[in-house]
């Protein structure tokens, strides 16, 4: 490790510690109302979801377009367990933490089964397979009224938890804020370690060139599957938190449009940076809140924003902050290209 690396590492450490401290005191500063604190919770939950997605996309090169399947599985498992509908399980699972554990395990198992099928194919076919399998799950839940509540869903009411004399009321915004924060921080540390581990380095090699990775002895599919399961697990975890906040779990949590959210957040934030998905999630929640208060056509505004961001800043917000121009096209070139018939300076980048 070079001196520069070490310096960079310590800077990262200081920055992250600072961020965590700031988040810890945030509720006490009074800057944010209960409602806005709630938005921060939403952003944190979605950030976790997006990070789990980016573990696949940014670090293993797999565009999952069905990531909501695991998010939704986590949410449904929690809802069913809390609702006491999983009669074959001991009643202990009707309380929050055991139910959460169960939900995460079930999400991982579903990811294992579906992932096994998905990793058989690469590139765009992988994306379509993930989409198709998640939509199969969606349709099943949507029509299986008796067990899943069909399109109406299942309401989720997390009873207060007794924890060694302490009562955690998850309905309380402050309490849930700290719970989410704790889960998020632990997950971030885990994922950070993961991508910087030898294992993570091999994931990168798969992202770059799966065929070559095989030829250096990487069991590519097994790695892809393991990353898929890990990503699915975290997505499931995010799903459980989401369920508690929404008071209901509906099939929409598995719909492709839900899968599109982490994709959008990650690309908006910047898939090449570790914090990209987090920034993207915050930006997304903020934009939605901001725009939807101005106009009921807020998605129109969102679309109007996405287009230039992708065109001019493909590295997302992180890219803009870093000051990389490196757009797919340069704004000036683009504009001059519109006026004259000058070539846009686009290079022929074969392969």
């Amino acid at each position: 490790m070079t001196a520069v690396d070490r310096l960079r590492d310590s800077r990262t450490a200081v920055l992250s510690l600072g961020a965590v401290l700031a988040m810890l005191v945030l509720p006490f500063t009074g800057i944010l109302s209960t409602f806005h604190l709630g938005l921060v919770i939403s952003a944190m939950v979605l950030a976790l979801f997006a990070m789990s997605f980016n573990l696949l996309f940014g670090y293993t090169g797999m565009l999952s377009f069905g990531h909501a399947a695991y998010f939704g599985t986590g949410a449904y498992t929690l809802a069913l367990a809390l609702d006491g509908q999983l009669g074959f399980l001991p009643s202990a699972f009707e309380s929050f933490f055991p139910a959460l554990l169960l939900a995460v395990v079930v999400a991982a198992l579903v990811a294992l089964v579906l992932g096994y099928l998905c990793v058989q194919r690469g590139d765009i076919y992988f994306a379509i397979l993930t989409l198709a399998l998640s939509m199969m799950l969606y349709e099943t839940i949507y029509t299986w009224n008796d067990f899943t509540g069909g399109s109406d869903g299942i309401t989720v009411l997390a009873e207060p938890i007794e924890l060694g004399g302490l009562t955690l009321n998850l309905i309380d915004t402050g309490t849930f804020y700290y719970l989410t924060l704790a889960i998020l921080v632990v997950s971030i540390v885990f994922i950070w370690r993961l991508i910087n581990s030898p294992y993570g380095e091999l994931l990168l090699s798969i992202r770059e060139n799966p065929e070559r990775a095989t030829m250096i002895g990487v069991p590519v599919k097994r790695y892809q599957l393991s990353a898929f399961v890990i990503a699915g697990t975290f997505a499931g975890l995010a799903g459980t938190l989401f369920a508690v906040r929404t008071f209901i779990v509906t099939p929409h949590t598995l719909h492709w449009s839900m899968s599109a959210e982490p994709v959008m957040m990650t690309l908006l934030g910047g898939p090449s940076a570790f914090v990209g998905p987090i920034i993207g999630a915050v930006m997304f929640v903020g934009l939605e809140q901001f725009l939807s208060n101005i106009t009921e056509y807020w998605q129109f505004g969102l679309g109007l924003l996405i287009v230039p961001i992708v065109l001019f800043f493909p590295d997302g917000l992180v890219g803009i902050l870093r000051g990389d121009s490196g757009g797919i096209v340069d704004v000036r070139d683009y504009l001059s290209g519109l006026v004259g018939d000058e070539p846009t300076g686009k290079e022929d980048t074969h392969e």
């Binding site: 490196g326 000058e342 070539p343 300076g345 290079e347 022929d348 074969h350």
Partner: protein, 237 residues
Amino acid sequence: MSILTVDDIHTYYGQSHVLHGVSLDIESGESVALLGRNGAGKTTTLRSILGMTPPREGEITFKGEPIDGLEPYQIARRGIGIVPEERRVFPELTVGDNIDVVMDDDGEWSKDRVYDVFPALREHQDQLGGQLSGGQQQMLTIARALVTDPDLLLLDEPSEGLAPNIVADLKSLLSDVLDTGITVLLTEQNTEFAFDLAERAYILSKGDVAWRGDIETLQESDDVIGKYLSVGAVEVD
């Protein structure tokens, strides 16, 4: 009369400045070699000429008219053909279709004529380009460039990956091509091949022209060869 002049061009890949003022001057009917170590900028020079990576500064004139700022296809249509470095055949077209799509019907080179030069292509004419062996692909790219009926042919390491007998054939083919009056600008690592074919050479080093002159002079200048090409050291036996 010069067919191509490249005047002080600067070319970039994104931020990285690769060509630092390369100038070339090529007479009609000549064959010129562009030599230099890996990474010297040979390929980039060819790509600049054809507008594939347009230079940010400098000027390129072909047949007396400036061609910078044009799209590659416009430049190509004025009479420049290219054989690229990494055999870019159209992988999902058959050999025959690879040739058909770029064929200039009024040109000198017919399909039969290139098949006569490369019988292997005739044999595999219905096979997909992507399923050819490396060497077969190389033949196909040369054939494909010829049927566009170019006045100037840019060859980026044409002998790479070809069996010795094919290299020999190629050499005589290219001499024939030169005899028809086509101008050739080629890059080569196989210096022997380049020496046999070219009349003049430019040596690039770090994106700039480091030496220019006749092939005979070059063959005698051990210092230049030693400094920029180090031929000879490898003569085995």
